[in-house]
Protein backbone atom coordinates (compact mmCIF):
# COMPACT_ATOMS: atom_id res chain seq x y z
CA UNK A 1 0.00 0.00 0.00
CA UNK A 2 2.78 2.41 0.94
CA UNK A 3 4.51 1.81 -2.38
CA UNK A 4 1.37 2.51 -4.39
CA UNK A 5 0.61 5.65 -2.41
CA UNK A 6 4.15 6.89 -2.92
CA UNK A 7 4.21 6.09 -6.63
CA UNK A 8 0.97 7.95 -7.25
CA UNK A 9 2.25 10.93 -5.31
CA UNK A 10 5.53 11.14 -7.17
CA UNK A 11 3.91 10.77 -10.59
CA UNK A 12 1.30 13.44 -9.89
CA UNK A 13 3.96 15.74 -8.44
CA UNK A 14 6.27 15.35 -11.41
CA UNK A 15 3.61 16.01 -14.00
CA UNK A 16 2.69 19.31 -12.46
CA UNK A 17 -0.62 18.53 -10.82
CA UNK A 18 -1.70 21.10 -8.23
CA UNK A 19 -0.10 19.94 -4.98
CA UNK A 20 -3.37 19.06 -3.27
CA UNK A 21 -3.84 16.26 -5.81
CA UNK A 22 -0.88 14.05 -4.83
CA UNK A 23 -1.82 14.33 -1.14
CA UNK A 24 -5.51 13.70 -1.50
CA UNK A 25 -5.13 10.97 -4.14
CA UNK A 26 -2.66 9.10 -1.99
CA UNK A 27 -5.05 9.36 0.95
CA UNK A 28 -7.92 8.00 -1.16
CA UNK A 29 -5.90 5.12 -2.54
CA UNK A 30 -4.62 4.23 0.91
CA UNK A 31 -8.14 4.35 2.29
CA UNK A 32 -9.69 2.24 -0.45
CA UNK A 33 -7.02 -0.44 -0.10
CA UNK A 34 -7.19 -0.46 3.65
CA UNK A 35 -10.95 -0.12 4.08
CA UNK A 36 -12.64 -1.50 0.99
CA UNK A 37 -15.91 -1.69 2.95
CA UNK A 38 -16.07 1.82 4.34
CA UNK A 39 -17.06 5.16 2.90
CA UNK A 40 -14.14 7.56 2.46
CA UNK A 41 -16.22 10.36 3.95
CA UNK A 42 -13.93 10.18 6.95
CA UNK A 43 -11.32 11.86 4.75
CA UNK A 44 -13.67 14.84 4.51
CA UNK A 45 -13.94 14.85 8.29
CA UNK A 46 -10.16 14.96 8.51
CA UNK A 47 -9.85 17.65 5.84
CA UNK A 48 -12.19 19.91 7.77
CA UNK A 49 -10.49 19.02 11.04
CA UNK A 50 -7.11 19.80 9.49
CA UNK A 51 -7.89 23.48 9.06
CA UNK A 52 -9.91 23.94 12.24
CA UNK A 53 -7.10 24.48 14.78
CA UNK A 54 -7.52 28.13 15.71
CA UNK A 55 -3.73 28.59 15.85
CA UNK A 56 -3.83 28.50 12.04
CA UNK A 57 -5.62 31.85 12.06
CA UNK A 58 -2.17 33.32 12.65
CA UNK A 59 -1.20 32.43 9.06
CA UNK A 60 -3.71 34.68 7.22
CA UNK A 61 -3.20 37.38 9.84
CA UNK A 62 0.56 37.51 9.36
CA UNK A 63 0.15 37.35 5.57
CA UNK A 64 -2.34 40.22 5.71
CA UNK A 65 -0.06 42.33 7.89
CA UNK A 66 2.87 41.65 5.56
CA UNK A 67 0.70 42.45 2.53
CA UNK A 68 -0.23 45.79 4.01
CA UNK A 69 3.31 46.80 4.93
CA UNK A 70 4.89 45.67 1.67
CA UNK A 71 2.55 48.10 -0.08
CA UNK A 72 3.65 50.84 2.27
CA UNK A 73 6.84 52.47 3.51
CA UNK A 74 7.91 50.24 6.38
CA UNK A 75 10.47 48.22 4.43
CA UNK A 76 12.16 51.31 3.00
CA UNK A 77 12.48 52.89 6.42
CA UNK A 78 13.98 49.72 7.90
CA UNK A 79 16.46 49.50 5.02
CA UNK A 80 17.38 53.13 5.48
CA UNK A 81 18.18 52.70 9.14
CA UNK A 82 20.54 49.75 8.61
CA UNK A 83 22.28 51.52 5.74
CA UNK A 84 22.94 54.57 7.91
CA UNK A 85 24.71 52.37 10.43
CA UNK A 86 26.40 49.79 8.18
CA UNK A 87 26.99 51.57 4.88
CA UNK A 88 30.46 52.88 5.68
CA UNK A 89 32.05 49.55 6.66
CA UNK A 90 33.61 47.17 4.15
CA UNK A 91 30.84 45.19 2.48
CA UNK A 92 28.42 47.51 4.23
CA UNK A 93 25.76 47.49 1.56
CA UNK A 94 25.69 43.67 1.47
CA UNK A 95 25.65 43.53 5.27
CA UNK A 96 22.76 45.99 5.17
CA UNK A 97 20.83 43.57 2.96
CA UNK A 98 21.34 40.81 5.52
CA UNK A 99 20.35 43.00 8.43
CA UNK A 100 17.41 44.46 6.55
CA UNK A 101 16.20 40.93 5.77
CA UNK A 102 16.48 40.09 9.47
CA UNK A 103 14.63 43.26 10.49
CA UNK A 104 12.00 42.90 7.81
CA UNK A 105 11.80 39.21 8.67
CA UNK A 106 10.88 40.25 12.19
CA UNK A 107 7.90 42.02 10.69
CA UNK A 108 6.88 39.48 8.10
CA UNK A 109 6.62 35.71 7.95
CA UNK A 110 7.02 35.14 4.25
CA UNK A 111 10.37 34.74 2.52
CA UNK A 112 8.98 35.71 -0.88
CA UNK A 113 7.70 39.04 0.43
CA UNK A 114 11.14 39.65 1.91
CA UNK A 115 12.86 38.98 -1.43
CA UNK A 116 10.63 41.61 -3.01
CA UNK A 117 10.66 44.19 -0.23
CA UNK A 118 14.38 44.13 0.55
CA UNK A 119 15.77 42.73 -2.68
CA UNK A 120 13.74 45.02 -4.90
CA UNK A 121 15.07 48.09 -3.17
CA UNK A 122 18.64 46.93 -2.59
CA UNK A 123 19.69 45.14 -5.76
CA UNK A 124 20.06 48.28 -7.92
CA UNK A 125 22.18 49.93 -5.22
CA UNK A 126 24.42 46.88 -4.84
CA UNK A 127 24.94 46.61 -8.58
CA UNK A 128 25.82 50.29 -8.73
CA UNK A 129 28.39 49.84 -5.97
CA UNK A 130 30.15 47.15 -7.96
CA UNK A 131 28.82 43.88 -6.51
CA UNK A 132 28.32 41.18 -9.14
CA UNK A 133 24.74 40.28 -9.92
CA UNK A 134 25.20 36.63 -9.01
CA UNK A 135 26.53 37.55 -5.56
CA UNK A 136 23.73 40.07 -5.09
CA UNK A 137 20.90 37.74 -6.02
CA UNK A 138 22.50 34.84 -4.14
CA UNK A 139 22.63 37.01 -1.04
CA UNK A 140 19.07 38.29 -1.42
CA UNK A 141 17.38 34.92 -1.97
CA UNK A 142 19.27 33.36 0.93
CA UNK A 143 19.10 36.22 3.41
CA UNK A 144 15.34 36.24 2.83
CA UNK A 145 15.33 32.85 4.62
CA UNK A 146 15.69 34.85 7.81
CA UNK A 147 12.02 35.75 7.50
CA UNK A 148 11.24 32.12 8.29
CA UNK A 149 13.59 31.77 11.26
CA UNK A 150 12.98 35.08 12.95
CA UNK A 151 9.42 35.29 14.22
CA UNK A 152 6.82 35.47 12.83
CA UNK A 153 7.18 32.42 10.62
CA UNK A 154 4.48 30.75 8.57
CA UNK A 155 6.55 27.57 8.41
CA UNK A 156 6.79 27.40 12.20
CA UNK A 157 3.05 27.95 12.62
CA UNK A 158 2.27 25.05 10.31
CA UNK A 159 4.89 22.79 11.91
CA UNK A 160 3.54 23.74 15.33
CA UNK A 161 -0.04 22.91 14.41
CA UNK A 162 0.78 19.65 12.63
CA UNK A 163 3.15 18.38 15.33
CA UNK A 164 1.32 19.84 18.33
CA UNK A 165 4.33 21.92 19.39
CA UNK A 166 4.02 25.30 21.10
CA UNK A 167 4.21 27.99 18.43
CA UNK A 168 5.32 30.56 20.99
CA UNK A 169 8.32 28.43 21.95
CA UNK A 170 9.19 27.76 18.32
CA UNK A 171 9.05 31.46 17.54
CA UNK A 172 11.46 32.34 20.29
CA UNK A 173 13.77 29.43 19.55
CA UNK A 174 14.32 30.67 15.99
CA UNK A 175 15.74 34.04 17.00
CA UNK A 176 19.31 33.09 17.97
CA UNK A 177 19.94 30.74 15.01
CA UNK A 178 18.65 33.57 12.82
CA UNK A 179 21.09 36.03 14.36
CA UNK A 180 23.93 33.54 13.88
CA UNK A 181 23.09 33.42 10.19
CA UNK A 182 23.15 37.23 10.11
CA UNK A 183 26.64 37.16 11.64
CA UNK A 184 27.95 34.50 9.24
CA UNK A 185 26.46 36.17 6.19
CA UNK A 186 27.87 39.53 7.27
CA UNK A 187 31.34 38.08 7.74
CA UNK A 188 31.17 36.48 4.31
CA UNK A 189 29.96 39.77 2.76
CA UNK A 190 32.84 41.63 4.34
CA UNK A 191 35.35 39.10 3.04
CA UNK A 192 33.76 39.24 -0.41
CA UNK A 193 33.97 43.05 -0.44
CA UNK A 194 37.67 42.99 0.53
CA UNK A 195 38.48 40.42 -2.12
CA UNK A 196 36.70 42.31 -4.88
CA UNK A 197 37.72 45.65 -3.48
CA UNK A 198 34.25 47.06 -3.42
CA UNK A 199 34.14 50.70 -2.34
CA UNK A 200 32.39 51.68 0.89
CA UNK A 201 29.64 54.27 1.26
CA UNK A 202 30.09 57.56 3.00
CA UNK A 203 29.72 57.39 6.75
CA UNK A 204 26.43 58.87 7.90
CA UNK A 205 26.49 61.51 10.59
CA UNK A 206 24.78 60.91 13.90
CA UNK A 207 22.10 63.41 12.98
CA UNK A 208 21.16 61.42 9.90
CA UNK A 209 21.31 58.21 11.88
CA UNK A 210 19.07 59.58 14.57
CA UNK A 211 16.66 60.77 11.94
CA UNK A 212 16.62 57.34 10.26
CA UNK A 213 16.03 55.61 13.58
CA UNK A 214 13.19 57.99 14.33
CA UNK A 215 11.62 57.25 10.96
CA UNK A 216 11.98 53.51 11.49
CA UNK A 217 10.60 53.56 15.01
CA UNK A 218 7.05 52.84 13.93
CA UNK A 219 7.90 49.69 11.92
CA UNK A 220 10.06 48.52 14.83
CA UNK A 221 6.84 48.18 16.78
CA UNK A 222 6.09 44.89 14.98
CA UNK A 223 8.82 42.81 16.63
CA UNK A 224 7.82 44.41 19.91
CA UNK A 225 4.24 43.24 19.45
CA UNK A 226 5.25 39.79 18.28
CA UNK A 227 8.15 38.88 20.53
CA UNK A 228 7.23 41.10 23.46
CA UNK A 229 3.56 40.25 23.27
CA UNK A 230 4.00 36.51 23.03
CA UNK A 231 7.03 36.32 25.33
CA UNK A 232 5.31 38.43 27.97
CA UNK A 233 2.20 36.29 27.78
CA UNK A 234 0.07 39.22 26.60
CA UNK A 235 -1.06 37.50 23.43
CA UNK A 236 -1.23 34.10 21.85
CA UNK A 237 0.65 33.97 18.53
CA UNK A 238 -2.70 34.25 16.74
CA UNK A 239 -3.66 37.33 18.68
CA UNK A 240 -0.25 38.88 18.15
CA UNK A 241 -0.77 38.33 14.43
CA UNK A 242 -4.16 40.05 14.49
CA UNK A 243 -2.75 42.96 16.51
CA UNK A 244 -0.01 43.22 13.86
CA UNK A 245 -2.75 43.64 11.26
CA UNK A 246 -4.30 46.42 13.31
CA UNK A 247 -0.89 48.02 13.78
CA UNK A 248 -0.09 47.74 10.06
CA UNK A 249 -3.39 49.40 9.17
CA UNK A 250 -2.84 52.22 11.67
CA UNK A 251 0.74 52.65 10.44
CA UNK A 252 0.27 52.56 6.70
CA UNK A 253 -3.23 53.98 6.38
CA UNK A 254 -3.31 56.57 9.16
CA UNK A 255 0.29 57.54 9.88
CA UNK A 256 2.22 56.99 6.64
CA UNK A 257 -0.88 57.32 4.47
CA UNK A 258 0.62 54.89 1.96
CA UNK A 259 -2.59 52.88 1.59
CA UNK A 260 -6.22 53.85 1.79
CA UNK A 261 -8.67 52.08 4.07
CA UNK A 262 -10.82 51.26 1.10
CA UNK A 263 -7.91 49.25 -0.35
CA UNK A 264 -8.25 46.82 2.55
CA UNK A 265 -10.84 44.43 1.08
CA UNK A 266 -8.64 44.13 -1.98
CA UNK A 267 -5.55 43.31 0.09
CA UNK A 268 -7.63 40.92 2.19
CA UNK A 269 -8.80 39.18 -0.99
CA UNK A 270 -5.24 38.39 -1.97
CA UNK A 271 -4.57 37.17 1.58
CA UNK A 272 -7.71 35.03 1.46
CA UNK A 273 -6.68 33.45 -1.82
CA UNK A 274 -3.20 32.59 -0.57
CA UNK A 275 -4.68 31.25 2.66
CA UNK A 276 -7.07 29.03 0.79
CA UNK A 277 -4.37 27.60 -1.46
CA UNK A 278 -2.09 26.88 1.50
CA UNK A 279 -4.84 25.61 3.79
CA UNK A 280 -6.34 23.22 1.26
CA UNK A 281 -2.91 21.58 1.38
CA UNK A 282 -3.13 21.41 5.16
CA UNK A 283 -6.59 19.89 4.80
CA UNK A 284 -5.39 17.35 2.25
CA UNK A 285 -2.34 16.72 4.41
CA UNK A 286 -4.56 15.90 7.38
CA UNK A 287 -6.48 13.30 5.36
CA UNK A 288 -3.18 11.92 4.10
CA UNK A 289 -1.65 11.65 7.54
CA UNK A 290 -4.81 10.09 8.99
CA UNK A 291 -4.54 7.31 6.43
CA UNK A 292 -0.85 6.88 7.21
CA UNK A 293 -1.40 6.73 10.99
CA UNK A 294 -4.30 4.39 10.62
CA UNK A 295 -2.32 1.94 8.55
CA UNK A 296 0.64 2.42 10.93
CA UNK A 297 2.80 3.40 7.98
CA UNK A 298 5.19 5.63 9.97
CA UNK A 299 6.06 2.69 12.23
CA UNK A 300 6.68 0.52 9.15
CA UNK A 301 8.86 3.07 7.39
CA UNK A 302 10.86 3.81 10.50
CA UNK A 303 11.57 0.18 11.24
CA UNK A 304 12.39 -0.63 7.62
CA UNK A 305 14.94 2.21 7.67
CA UNK A 306 16.36 0.71 10.85
CA UNK A 307 15.71 3.96 12.71
CA UNK A 308 14.07 2.21 15.65
CA UNK A 309 17.35 1.62 17.40
CA UNK A 310 18.97 4.83 16.18
CA UNK A 311 20.04 7.30 18.84
CA UNK A 312 18.84 10.88 18.90
CA UNK A 313 21.76 12.18 16.78
CA UNK A 314 21.16 9.61 14.04
CA UNK A 315 17.44 10.30 14.11
CA UNK A 316 17.93 14.04 13.93
CA UNK A 317 20.35 13.65 11.03
CA UNK A 318 17.88 11.45 9.19
CA UNK A 319 15.07 13.95 9.73
CA UNK A 320 17.18 16.90 8.56
CA UNK A 321 18.40 15.03 5.52
CA UNK A 322 14.86 14.03 4.59
CA UNK A 323 13.66 17.62 4.89
CA UNK A 324 16.63 19.08 3.06
CA UNK A 325 16.19 16.72 0.12
CA UNK A 326 12.41 17.04 0.17
CA UNK A 327 12.56 20.83 0.12
CA UNK A 328 14.91 20.79 -2.85
CA UNK A 329 12.17 19.33 -5.00
CA UNK A 330 8.82 20.07 -3.42
CA UNK A 331 7.13 23.07 -1.83
CA UNK A 332 8.11 23.41 1.82
CA UNK A 333 4.58 23.28 3.24
CA UNK A 334 3.90 20.03 1.42
CA UNK A 335 7.14 18.60 2.79
CA UNK A 336 6.14 19.54 6.34
CA UNK A 337 2.70 18.00 5.84
CA UNK A 338 4.09 14.73 4.50
CA UNK A 339 7.17 14.23 6.64
CA UNK A 340 6.14 15.50 10.09
CA UNK A 341 3.50 12.80 10.65
CA UNK A 342 5.95 10.16 9.43
CA UNK A 343 8.65 11.21 11.85
CA UNK A 344 6.36 12.18 14.74
CA UNK A 345 6.37 8.78 16.51
CA UNK A 346 10.14 8.60 16.14
CA UNK A 347 10.63 12.09 17.56
CA UNK A 348 8.50 11.08 20.55
CA UNK A 349 10.22 7.77 21.16
CA UNK A 350 13.78 9.14 20.95
CA UNK A 351 12.84 11.95 23.31
CA UNK A 352 14.09 14.66 20.94
CA UNK A 353 12.93 18.13 21.89
CA UNK A 354 10.14 18.94 19.41
CA UNK A 355 11.11 22.63 19.60
CA UNK A 356 14.69 21.84 18.55
CA UNK A 357 13.43 19.59 15.77
CA UNK A 358 11.06 22.35 14.72
CA UNK A 359 13.82 24.94 14.48
CA UNK A 360 16.02 22.60 12.45
CA UNK A 361 13.15 21.67 10.16
CA UNK A 362 12.26 25.34 9.71
CA UNK A 363 15.88 26.01 8.82
CA UNK A 364 15.81 23.28 6.16
CA UNK A 365 12.50 24.59 4.86
CA UNK A 366 14.00 28.09 4.64
CA UNK A 367 17.09 26.76 2.89
CA UNK A 368 14.81 24.85 0.52
CA UNK A 369 13.24 28.10 -0.63
CA UNK A 370 16.55 28.99 -2.28
CA UNK A 371 17.78 25.58 -3.47
CA UNK A 372 17.19 24.52 -7.06
CA UNK A 373 15.25 23.08 -8.73
CA UNK A 374 12.13 24.07 -6.72
CA UNK A 375 12.49 27.19 -4.60
CA UNK A 376 9.93 29.90 -4.00
CA UNK A 377 12.59 32.55 -3.42
CA UNK A 378 14.24 31.60 -6.70
CA UNK A 379 10.94 31.91 -8.56
CA UNK A 380 10.30 35.27 -6.94
CA UNK A 381 13.78 36.48 -7.89
CA UNK A 382 13.32 35.29 -11.47
CA UNK A 383 10.06 37.21 -11.73
CA UNK A 384 11.11 40.38 -9.93
CA UNK A 385 14.67 40.75 -11.21
CA UNK A 386 13.80 39.36 -14.66
CA UNK A 387 16.86 37.10 -14.75
CA UNK A 388 16.94 33.54 -16.08
CA UNK A 389 16.97 30.62 -13.67
CA UNK A 390 20.68 29.80 -14.14
CA UNK A 391 21.75 33.35 -13.30
CA UNK A 392 19.60 33.41 -10.20
CA UNK A 393 21.00 30.10 -8.98
CA UNK A 394 24.67 30.83 -9.73
CA UNK A 395 25.41 32.78 -6.54
CA UNK A 396 23.63 30.41 -4.17
CA UNK A 397 26.34 27.83 -3.23
CA UNK A 398 28.47 29.84 -0.71
CA UNK A 399 25.36 30.96 1.16
CA UNK A 400 23.99 27.46 1.11
CA UNK A 401 27.23 26.23 2.70
CA UNK A 402 26.90 28.81 5.47
CA UNK A 403 23.31 27.76 6.12
CA UNK A 404 24.33 24.10 6.29
CA UNK A 405 27.12 25.05 8.67
CA UNK A 406 24.54 26.76 10.87
CA UNK A 407 22.44 23.59 10.75
CA UNK A 408 25.48 21.63 11.97
CA UNK A 409 26.10 24.14 14.74
CA UNK A 410 22.53 24.00 16.03
CA UNK A 411 22.66 20.19 15.95
CA UNK A 412 25.95 20.12 17.84
CA UNK A 413 24.90 22.81 20.32
CA UNK A 414 21.09 22.60 20.68
CA UNK A 415 21.26 25.29 23.35
CA UNK A 416 21.69 27.83 20.55
CA UNK A 417 18.03 27.27 19.80
CA UNK A 418 16.78 26.13 23.18
CA UNK A 419 18.16 28.55 25.72
CA UNK A 420 15.70 31.35 24.96
CA UNK A 421 12.59 29.18 25.24
CA UNK A 422 14.04 27.56 28.35
CA UNK A 423 14.62 30.97 29.83
CA UNK A 424 11.10 31.99 29.00
CA UNK A 425 9.01 28.93 29.64
CA UNK A 426 10.69 26.31 31.78
Amino acid sequence: MTELMLTVMVVLLLFGFPMKMPLISAAFIGFLIYFPNFSPQILVQQMIGGVKPSALVAVPMFILAADIITRGHSADRLIDVVMRFMGHIKGGLAISVTSACALFGAVCGSTQATVVAVGGAMRPRMLKSGYSDSFTIGLIVNAADLAYLIPPSIGMIIYGVVSGTSISQLFIAGIVPGLIIVAFFSAYCMWHAYRHDIPVLERSGWGERFDAVRRALWPMGFPLIIVGGIYGGVFSPTEAAAICVLYAVVLEALIFRSIRLRDLPDIALSTGAITSVVFILIAAGAAFSWTLSFAQVPQTIISSLGLNEAGPIMTLTAIILAFFIGCMFVDSIVVILILVPIFAPLIKSTGLDPVLVGVLITLQVAIGAATPPFGCNLFTAIAVFRRPFVDVVRGVPPFLLILLLTTGLVMAFPQIALFLPELAYR
Binding site: F15, G16, L43, R71, Q112, G120, A383
Partner: protein, 201 residues
Protein backbone atom coordinates in the same frame (compact mmCIF):
# COMPACT_ATOMS: atom_id res chain seq x y z
CA UNK B 1 -4.61 38.77 -20.48
CA UNK B 2 -8.13 39.02 -21.92
CA UNK B 3 -9.09 36.09 -24.09
CA UNK B 4 -10.21 36.99 -27.58
CA UNK B 5 -13.61 35.35 -27.59
CA UNK B 6 -15.35 33.45 -24.90
CA UNK B 7 -17.37 30.45 -26.03
CA UNK B 8 -20.58 29.67 -24.10
CA UNK B 9 -21.31 33.27 -23.06
CA UNK B 10 -23.88 32.20 -20.48
CA UNK B 11 -21.36 30.07 -18.67
CA UNK B 12 -19.15 33.13 -18.51
CA UNK B 13 -21.95 35.13 -16.90
CA UNK B 14 -22.78 32.51 -14.30
CA UNK B 15 -19.09 32.30 -13.64
CA UNK B 16 -18.95 36.05 -13.10
CA UNK B 17 -21.67 35.96 -10.45
CA UNK B 18 -20.04 33.06 -8.62
CA UNK B 19 -16.75 34.89 -8.76
CA UNK B 20 -18.28 37.95 -7.09
CA UNK B 21 -19.60 35.80 -4.24
CA UNK B 22 -16.23 34.14 -3.79
CA UNK B 23 -14.44 37.48 -3.76
CA UNK B 24 -16.85 38.77 -1.15
CA UNK B 25 -16.43 35.75 1.11
CA UNK B 26 -12.64 35.73 0.84
CA UNK B 27 -11.99 39.41 1.46
CA UNK B 28 -14.59 39.98 4.15
CA UNK B 29 -13.89 36.59 5.72
CA UNK B 30 -10.27 37.59 6.30
CA UNK B 31 -11.29 41.01 7.62
CA UNK B 32 -13.90 39.44 9.90
CA UNK B 33 -11.23 37.09 11.24
CA UNK B 34 -8.97 40.03 12.06
CA UNK B 35 -11.77 42.04 13.65
CA UNK B 36 -12.95 39.06 15.69
CA UNK B 37 -9.48 38.27 17.01
CA UNK B 38 -8.65 41.90 17.76
CA UNK B 39 -12.02 42.41 19.46
CA UNK B 40 -11.35 39.41 21.69
CA UNK B 41 -8.02 40.87 22.80
CA UNK B 42 -9.60 44.23 23.54
CA UNK B 43 -12.47 42.49 25.26
CA UNK B 44 -10.09 40.64 27.53
CA UNK B 45 -7.87 43.55 28.48
CA UNK B 46 -10.13 46.56 28.23
CA UNK B 47 -13.52 45.17 29.21
CA UNK B 48 -12.29 42.15 31.22
CA UNK B 49 -14.62 39.97 29.21
CA UNK B 50 -13.53 37.56 26.50
CA UNK B 51 -15.82 36.84 23.59
CA UNK B 52 -16.88 33.30 24.39
CA UNK B 53 -17.55 32.37 20.77
CA UNK B 54 -14.46 34.05 19.34
CA UNK B 55 -12.52 30.85 18.71
CA UNK B 56 -15.53 29.12 17.24
CA UNK B 57 -16.16 32.00 14.85
CA UNK B 58 -12.55 31.87 13.69
CA UNK B 59 -12.82 28.11 13.11
CA UNK B 60 -15.85 28.72 10.96
CA UNK B 61 -14.18 31.54 9.03
CA UNK B 62 -11.12 29.43 8.37
CA UNK B 63 -13.23 26.57 7.01
CA UNK B 64 -15.26 28.85 4.76
CA UNK B 65 -12.18 30.71 3.47
CA UNK B 66 -10.30 27.50 2.75
CA UNK B 67 -13.06 25.79 0.82
CA UNK B 68 -14.77 28.77 -0.79
CA UNK B 69 -11.35 30.04 -1.85
CA UNK B 70 -10.76 26.81 -3.71
CA UNK B 71 -12.93 27.83 -6.64
CA UNK B 72 -11.50 31.34 -6.67
CA UNK B 73 -7.91 30.07 -6.68
CA UNK B 74 -8.75 27.66 -9.48
CA UNK B 75 -10.35 30.47 -11.44
CA UNK B 76 -7.26 32.64 -11.00
CA UNK B 77 -4.93 29.76 -11.71
CA UNK B 78 -3.03 30.13 -8.46
CA UNK B 79 -1.83 26.83 -7.12
CA UNK B 80 1.25 25.44 -5.60
CA UNK B 81 2.60 23.01 -8.17
CA UNK B 82 5.86 21.77 -9.54
CA UNK B 83 6.00 22.64 -13.20
CA UNK B 84 9.57 21.66 -14.21
CA UNK B 85 8.57 18.81 -16.52
CA UNK B 86 5.39 20.52 -17.65
CA UNK B 87 7.29 23.65 -18.64
CA UNK B 88 9.83 21.66 -20.62
CA UNK B 89 7.19 20.04 -22.84
CA UNK B 90 6.30 21.39 -26.29
CA UNK B 91 3.18 23.55 -26.49
CA UNK B 92 0.88 20.87 -27.86
CA UNK B 93 1.83 18.24 -25.30
CA UNK B 94 1.56 20.83 -22.59
CA UNK B 95 -1.97 21.57 -23.62
CA UNK B 96 -2.86 17.87 -23.60
CA UNK B 97 -1.25 17.46 -20.21
CA UNK B 98 -3.23 20.47 -18.97
CA UNK B 99 -6.45 18.84 -20.14
CA UNK B 100 -5.43 15.65 -18.36
CA UNK B 101 -4.55 17.53 -15.18
CA UNK B 102 -7.77 19.51 -15.09
CA UNK B 103 -9.99 16.52 -15.88
CA UNK B 104 -8.33 14.31 -13.28
CA UNK B 105 -8.45 17.07 -10.71
CA UNK B 106 -12.11 17.75 -11.55
CA UNK B 107 -12.83 14.05 -11.06
CA UNK B 108 -11.09 14.08 -7.68
CA UNK B 109 -12.91 17.25 -6.63
CA UNK B 110 -16.22 15.71 -7.72
CA UNK B 111 -15.48 12.60 -5.66
CA UNK B 112 -14.65 14.76 -2.66
CA UNK B 113 -17.83 16.77 -3.18
CA UNK B 114 -19.84 13.58 -3.14
CA UNK B 115 -18.31 12.34 0.09
CA UNK B 116 -18.59 15.81 1.59
CA UNK B 117 -22.33 15.69 0.87
CA UNK B 118 -22.52 12.30 2.58
CA UNK B 119 -20.48 13.49 5.54
CA UNK B 120 -22.33 16.75 6.05
CA UNK B 121 -25.68 14.98 5.71
CA UNK B 122 -24.58 12.58 8.41
CA UNK B 123 -23.45 15.39 10.70
CA UNK B 124 -26.83 17.05 10.13
CA UNK B 125 -28.79 13.88 10.82
CA UNK B 126 -26.91 13.28 14.07
CA UNK B 127 -27.90 16.75 15.19
CA UNK B 128 -24.45 17.86 16.25
CA UNK B 129 -24.12 21.43 17.49
CA UNK B 130 -21.15 23.73 17.97
CA UNK B 131 -19.84 24.01 21.53
CA UNK B 132 -20.12 27.76 22.17
CA UNK B 133 -22.97 29.07 20.05
CA UNK B 134 -24.85 25.75 19.98
CA UNK B 135 -25.77 26.21 16.32
CA UNK B 136 -26.17 23.14 14.11
CA UNK B 137 -22.69 22.08 13.04
CA UNK B 138 -23.74 21.23 9.49
CA UNK B 139 -24.50 24.91 8.82
CA UNK B 140 -20.80 25.64 9.21
CA UNK B 141 -19.83 22.62 7.10
CA UNK B 142 -22.19 23.14 4.18
CA UNK B 143 -19.61 25.56 2.74
CA UNK B 144 -17.22 22.70 2.30
CA UNK B 145 -19.67 21.06 -0.09
CA UNK B 146 -20.29 24.30 -1.97
CA UNK B 147 -16.59 25.11 -2.19
CA UNK B 148 -15.62 21.65 -3.44
CA UNK B 149 -18.52 21.70 -5.90
CA UNK B 150 -17.47 25.05 -7.32
CA UNK B 151 -13.89 23.87 -7.63
CA UNK B 152 -15.11 20.82 -9.57
CA UNK B 153 -17.00 23.15 -11.89
CA UNK B 154 -13.97 25.37 -12.36
CA UNK B 155 -11.71 22.49 -13.31
CA UNK B 156 -14.34 21.11 -15.71
CA UNK B 157 -14.72 24.50 -17.35
CA UNK B 158 -10.97 24.80 -17.72
CA UNK B 159 -10.73 21.38 -19.32
CA UNK B 160 -13.56 22.36 -21.65
CA UNK B 161 -11.86 25.58 -22.63
CA UNK B 162 -8.64 23.77 -23.46
CA UNK B 163 -10.32 21.08 -25.58
CA UNK B 164 -9.95 23.20 -28.70
CA UNK B 165 -6.46 22.00 -29.56
CA UNK B 166 -6.17 24.24 -32.63
CA UNK B 167 -6.11 27.28 -30.37
CA UNK B 168 -2.65 28.01 -29.12
CA UNK B 169 -3.32 29.41 -25.63
CA UNK B 170 -3.39 27.15 -22.63
CA UNK B 171 -6.05 28.16 -20.15
CA UNK B 172 -5.50 27.72 -16.44
CA UNK B 173 -9.11 28.61 -15.81
CA UNK B 174 -12.15 29.24 -17.91
CA UNK B 175 -11.30 32.87 -18.55
CA UNK B 176 -7.63 33.27 -17.84
CA UNK B 177 -4.55 32.48 -19.82
CA UNK B 178 -1.59 32.44 -17.55
CA UNK B 179 0.98 30.14 -16.11
CA UNK B 180 0.36 28.41 -12.83
CA UNK B 181 2.17 30.18 -10.06
CA UNK B 182 2.80 29.80 -6.40
CA UNK B 183 0.31 32.18 -4.78
CA UNK B 184 2.68 33.84 -2.33
CA UNK B 185 5.21 34.35 -5.08
CA UNK B 186 2.51 35.73 -7.36
CA UNK B 187 1.30 38.12 -4.66
CA UNK B 188 4.82 39.27 -3.83
CA UNK B 189 5.58 39.89 -7.50
CA UNK B 190 2.29 41.72 -7.97
CA UNK B 191 3.16 44.06 -5.09
CA UNK B 192 6.53 44.72 -6.68
CA UNK B 193 5.09 45.58 -10.07
CA UNK B 194 2.46 47.78 -8.44
CA UNK B 195 5.10 49.71 -6.55
CA UNK B 196 7.33 50.09 -9.58
CA UNK B 197 4.44 51.56 -11.49
CA UNK B 198 3.75 53.95 -8.65
CA UNK B 199 7.36 55.14 -8.59
CA UNK B 200 7.29 55.58 -12.35
CA UNK B 201 4.30 57.93 -12.10
Amino acid sequence: MEPRSVPFKLLGKVDGVISKIEVFILSWGVIAMAVNTIANVFGRYVFHQSIYFSEELNEFLIVIITFMGLGYATRKGIHIRMSAIYDALPQKLRKILMILITITTAAMMATLTWYAVEYVAKVASRGRVTPALQVPLYLTYIWVVIGLGLATLQYLLTALRNLNLSEEEIYVSYLEVDSYEDPETAAAVARFVEKEEETAK
